[in-house]
Every structure is written in structure tokens, then in C-alpha cells.
């Protein structure tokens, strides 16, 4: 098999961070998750090559959903846990073994919907975790139901007459708590993913990175942008990259644009440090 032999030869520089025997992955053509994972792994690779990070201390913790499948393929200690509970699981792992670098990756439904309370309290505690929320604006794995981030008016399988709800601005929510880092990237701007992840890896406390992503198969179909290139280009045209934007600029606005950038950078003591001070 041609594809298999390419993997066996270790053709890609990131193969050392992938469980190549599990490939090909389950993600649909045009899905942004591969770009997101690529950016995350490149940032990890840079930190490891700088001697700032040990591979054996990296733990990927995920819940359930398409984004959660990243723990299938990343060649680190990994946990594919329950829907919504990745932050809870990660909190225990980090507290029990502080030398671990625990990275939570999840979709918007997983992190901000069913797992929203854990997100709030981990950010409130400034828990020493990196949480990556990959936003595709929909529940994709279950077939296209409305998500807490779905824009108003959009068709989903559970809002057949248009989403009547206001979407949650997760950047604003997390920023209102005590995190050390809040940023928004987009798979349409891959270097941003790597750059923000790289920065987060060098910090302590609670670090939150939202990555806007493309789901042509489900979200794209709902909004009439089924073609992945068209969806990608449309999202790309909406993303406005800003240097140190204010939190008030984070409101997702499909007319004026979706602002990406580092909304909050702080150096407060993380939860572990506060705990040790007692």
C-alpha cells in the first residue's frame, strides 16, 4: 500500500510525535483538525528541541468528539476520557504529578458545552493546564446539532428553523476569570496556531487557546459551504489578526470579522504554586 509505505519510511518530520500505525485518521477531507494538530505538534517540537519540554512528560487529555480524537494519534501519554471531563481528568493528573505538562484538547461542545463548568473553575483557579478549544461551531461527530458557539439563525439538525440562541463568547468568559493566557488562532492561519501554542507551553497557570476550524462535512453543509476550499477561504476572509486585541474585540461577528490574537497575557502564580505556599 503506497500510503502505508510512506508512513513507514518516516516521511514527515512530525512522525516521531504520531502513532503512525494508527493512521490514516478518521477526520473528513477538508477538516481543520489536521492543521490544528500540526501546529500544536510543531510548537511542542520546538520546545522539546530547545530543552524546555520533555517528551515523556507531555500528556494529551481529551474528552469525546472529533477534536478529542487527537489523543488517538499523538504519540505521547494520552487519555481519551469522557465527554466534557477532560479538564477534570487533567486537573487530577497535574496535581498528582506536577512535572507533567498536561494539554487538554477538545471541541467547543466538549469544552464549553458539557464541560463548561470545569472550564470556568480551572480558569478561576489558574490551574496549571493548557486547554485548546477547537471551534467548529457545531456538534459534528453526533451529526450536526446546535453547539453553544453556533451563530444565531443558522440551521442545525436540532434548530431546523434557525438557531434562536445567542452563542457563547468563550474568550470573554475565560478572560473574566484568572487565566494567565487567552488567545484565539485559526486553522486558516497555521503559523498562529504554532505561535500561540509555543507561547503557552512556556508559561504556567491556566492557558487557553481557541482555534477556529473548518468542518465542511457538517457545519459547511449546514451553511451552504459544503466545498472545503470555499469554506476555508470564507473563514479565512472573516478572520482578522490583531496584535494584542482587547477582550471586548473577541465577540464573534460574522459580518465585521472574527478577531484572532493574544487577548490576555499574565504571569500570575499558578494553582500549584499557590497550593505550595500554604
Amino acid at each position: 500500500m503506497v500510503v502505508g509505505s510512506v508512513y513507514e519510511r518516516g516521511a514527515h518530520p512530525l512522525d516521531k510525535y504520531l502513532r503512525v500505525t494508527r493512521l490514516p485518521h478518521i477526520w473528513c477531507p477538508g477538516c481543520g483538525l489536521g492543521i490544528a494538530l500540526g501546529g500544536i505538534l510543531r510548537a511542542i517540537d520546538r520546545r522539546i528541541s530547545e530543552g524546555m519540554l520533555k517528551k515523556e512528560n507531555v500528556v494529551f487529555v481529551t474528552g469525546i468528539g472529533c477534536s478529542a480524537r487527537t489523543s488517538f494519534y499523538a504519540n505521547f501519554d494520552a487519555a481519551h476520557t469522557l465527554h466534557g471531563r477532560a479538564i477534570a481528568f487533567a486537573t487530577g493528573a497535574k496535581l498528582a504529578k506536577p512535572e507533567l505538562d498536561v494539554i487538554v484538547i477538545g471541541g467547543d461542545g466538549d469544552i464549553a458545552g458539557i464541560g463548561g463548568n470545569h472550564l470556568i473553575h480551572a480558569a478561576r483557579r489558574n490551574m496549571d493546564l493548557i486547554v485548546i478549544m477547537i471551534t467548529n461551531f457545531v456538534y459534528a461527530m453526533t451529526g450536526g446539532q446546535v453547539a453553544p458557539t453556533t451563530p444565531q439563525g443558522i440551521y442545525t439538525t436540532t434548530t431546523p428553523h434557525g438557531n434562536p440562541e445567542f452563542p457563547l463568547n468563550v474568550i470573554k468568559l475565560v478572560s473574566s476569570l484568572n487565566p494567565n493566557y487567552v488567545a484565539r488562532a485559526s486553522v486558516t492561519h497555521p503559523p498562529l496556531v504554532e505561535q500561540f501554542m509555543y507561547r503557552a507551553l512556556g508559561m504556567k497557570g491556566f492557558r487557553f487557546v481557541e482555534i477556529l476550524s473548518t468542518c465542511p462535512e457538517v457545519f459547511g453543509r449546514h451553511v451552504g459551504l459544503r466545498d472545503s476550499v470555499t469554506l476555508y477561504n470564507t473563514l479565512r476572509s472573516k478572520v482578522v489578526v490583531k496584535h494584542n486585541p482587547g477582550v471586548e474585540e473577541s465577540e464573534p461577528d460574522w459580518e465585521k470579522g472574527l478577531v484572532a490574537g493574544e487577548f490576555l497575557v499574565r504571569d500570575r502564580p499558578g494553582y500549584l504554586e499557590m497550593l505550595r505556599r500554604r
Binding site: 498528582a96 504529578k97 470545569h118
Partner: protein, 374 residues
């Protein structure tokens, strides 16, 4: 070894420390909160972490995470909190995560009577989590027992890679008794099995002959996978019946084939008895008193006090009842364990003595219940 005069909940905390627990996460709930309050001082002294989290869901998921980070881990709760934990218990089952949940039963359903006792959650701990599974459940009847069964709960959890439930109740929780707190060496303390092979040869869910896979922790360099989906020996998701059947059979068999490690029962006066009372937890204290009252008036009656509710060992129930005509099952609920006693004990008539008391049941209630059948 230390002699102490402590409560049942304090004994659970002390037992956990002796067993080597290094991580506790919990959420306040009557009548379990004082376990966390006690541990927050004591566990720090031995280098462990106690953390109060935002709810019971977080607590048990954090406990699973901590266990994978290598720490013996535990949470404590009561009915309403336990209800929130059952999904994660399933994760602990399928990912074979050692952990202990102390469930201090109180009156239900719903908020019930938070400060009062009950034994109505004995089937919840057996069947609460979805999917096929069996989780060992130990049930103490005294402060000393609470201490020793907590250590045993950790030993089972670590040796069989399973969640274990220590099922106490509001009476035992706040009963103060003389206790001998044994140190490691005076009481057996078991640690989980670690891999003996290099990471390149390690399969996280490949069992040894005893059906238990050695467990590497996060940070050990073994690239472990904690997997909530049905998985093969690599920890890779599989959707075929063979893999599913093999996994579920092993997860169940590893508990059932070790039933002698898990199951314990104490018997009092059963050898010559025409009548046997089966009971457990705080109700068994009243049952023993009732048995003594009845024997003093010439009734040949004995007591089987269950220390383990799940898994039950059929022959260990059947054998002591072989000469009995009547077997009474006294429990502070509408009659639950009685169904299994009926299933296993065929030669005698099995009678349910359902007691619905907010306080510890009295010996008189049991004496009267038995007398109706004499």
C-alpha cells in the same frame, strides 16, 4: 500501631493514608464531608494532595487522572454525589483505573434526609454505571472495620486495577469507637503492578496470566493510552464483537476469579442454627444483638455478617445456611440483597426483613420480625 478513639469517617481517612493514598478530591456532602476535612490536614503531612473541586463529577474524574499519574487516589461522597459519579465509574472500569470511592449512604431518594442513615443504595453501587461491569463493594460495620476495609479497598483496587467502593452509612460514619490503627507491615499494603518490559514492547491493556495488565503511569515514558472506548491490547478503539467480548469477559473475570481476595463474611453461632440472619453495615450491629437476645431465650439462630456485598460468593452464603430452615435478610431498605440470597440459598426459605429506619435499626425490630416466623 496507634490506639485511637475516632469516628468511622476518620477511620476511613486513616486507612487511606496507611494504604498509601496520595491524592484525594471531593465535594462537600453530608455525611461524608468530614473525611475531606480530616484529610486536608493529615494528607499534607505525608506529602499528598487534597483538593475540593467544583462538583462530584470533577472529583472522580480528577481521581482517575491522578491514579494514571501514579498516585493511589480516592474520593468520598454520599447518594446524590454518587449519582453524579457513575458515568466516570464506567471510565474507571474500562480503563482499569485503580481508585476508591467511599460512599457514605444517607436517606434518599433525591435529597432525602441528608443527616440520616440508610442502606438503600446497595443496588446503585452494583448497577449504577451503564454497561457490563462488576465493581467490588465492601461494607464496614464498625470503626475498626472501616479502617481495615479501606486498606483492603485500596489493595483490591491496586491489585485488580479496578474501582472499589467502600460503602459505609451515616451511622458508621459518626460512630466513635476504639480503634487500632495498624501501620504498613502490621497490615498488608499492595501496590499496582508495573511493566517489566521496555516501552517498545509494552501494550497497555495486555494482561498477564492473572488477567491484570501491568500499569505504567503518565511520565514513565511508556506512551500509555487511557481509553474510554472499547479497545484492544494496544488501547486502540475496535468495533468488532471479538474485541468487545474479549474485553468485557476479562474485565468481569478478573474480579470474579479473584472473589476469594474480595469476598469476606463473618459468622456468629451459625453452626447449630436452624435460623440464620444475614445482615451488613450498621444494621448488622442490631442483628447481632437480636441474635443474642433470641439465643438467650433458646432460639437456635445465628448471624452472617457480610463484609463484601459485591461480588458475593454463592457457596459462602449457601454453606453456613445448609442446616437452616429459615434465612432472614435484615437490611435498612425495602429489601435488596435478599434477592441474591434467595438466588443462592435454595434449601431454606428466605425471608426479607426490610427496615426503613432513619436511625440505626433496633434489635427489637429484628427480634419481632424473626418471632413472627417461629
Amino acid at each position: 500501631m496507634r490506639k485511637a478513639f475516632i469516628s468511622g469517617n476518620m477511620a476511613i481517612a486513616e486507612g487511606a493514608i496507611i494504604a498509601g493514598m496520595k491524592f484525594f478530591a471531593g465535594y462537600p456532602i453530608t455525611p461524608a464531608s468530614d473525611i475531606m476535612e480530616y484529610l486536608v490536614e493529615r494528607l499534607n503531612e505525608v506529602g499528598g494532595v487534597v483538593v475540593q473541586l467544583e462538583d462530584e463529577i470533577t472529583s472522580i474524574n480528577a481521581v482517575i487522572g491522578a491514579s494514571w499519574a501514579g498516585a493511589k487516589s480516592m474520593t468520598a461522597t454520599s447518594g446524590p454525589g454518587f449519582s453524579l459519579m457513575v458515568e466516570a465509574l464506567g471510565l474507571a472500569v474500562i480503563s482499569e483505573t485503580p481508585l476508591v470511592v467511599a460512599d457514605i449512604m444517607r436517606t434518599g431518594p433525591s435529597t432525602g434526609v441528608p443527616t440520616k442513615t440508610s442502606q438503600s443504595d446497595v443496588l446503585q453501587v452494583r448497577h449504577g454505571a451503564h454497561g457490563d461491569h462488576i465493581i467490588p463493594v465492601l461494607v464496614p460495620w464498625s470503626v475498626q472495620d472501616a479502617f481495615e476495609l479501606t486498606v483492603k479497598a485500596f489493595n483490591i483496587a491496586e491489585s485488580l486495577r479496578t474501582p472499589v467502593i467502600l460503602l459505609s452509612d451515616a451511622v458508621i460514619a459518626h460512630l466513635w469507637e476504639s480503634a487500632v490503627l495498624k501501620d504498613p507491615g502490621e497490615i498488608e499494603v499492595v501496590d499496582r503492578k508495573k511493566p517489566m518490559v521496555p516501552p517498545s514492547e509494552y501494550l497497555p491493556y495486555k494482561p498477564d496470566e492473572d488477567l491484570i495488565p501491568p500499569m505504567a503511569s503518565f511520565g514513565d515514558g511508556y506512551n500509555v493510552i487511557v481509553e474510554s472506548l472499547v479497545h484492544d491490547e494496544h488501547g486502540y478503539y475496535r468495533q468488532d464483537s471479538d474485541t468487545y467480548r474479549r474485553l468485557i469477559t476479562r474485565l468481569t473475570s478478573k474480579i470474579m476469579s479473584n472473589v476469594d481476595k474480595v469476598f469476606e463474611v463473618e459468622s456468629y453461632y451459625v453452626n447449630d442454627s436452624k435460623y440464620v440472619v444475614v445482615s451488613y453495615g450498621s444494621t448488622a450491629r442490631a442483628a447481632l444483638a437480636a441474635v443474642r437476645v433470641l439465643r438467650s431465650s433458646g432460639v437456635k439462630i445465628g448471624l452472617l455478617r457480610l463484609k463484601t456485598l459485591w461480588p458475593l460468593k454463592p457457596e459462602a452464603l449457601r454453606e453456613p445456611c445448609r442446616n437452616a430452615d429459615l434465612v432472614f435478610v435484615a437490611e435498612n431498605n425495602t429489601g435488596k440483597i435478599v434477592a441474591d440470597v434467595e438466588r443462592f440459598v435454595k434449601n431454606a426459605e428466605v425471608v426479607s426483613l426490610p427496615l426503613l429506619d432513619l436511625e440505626v435499626p433496633t434489635p427489637d425490630e429484628i427480634v419481632e420480625g424473626v418471632k413472627e416466623w417461629l
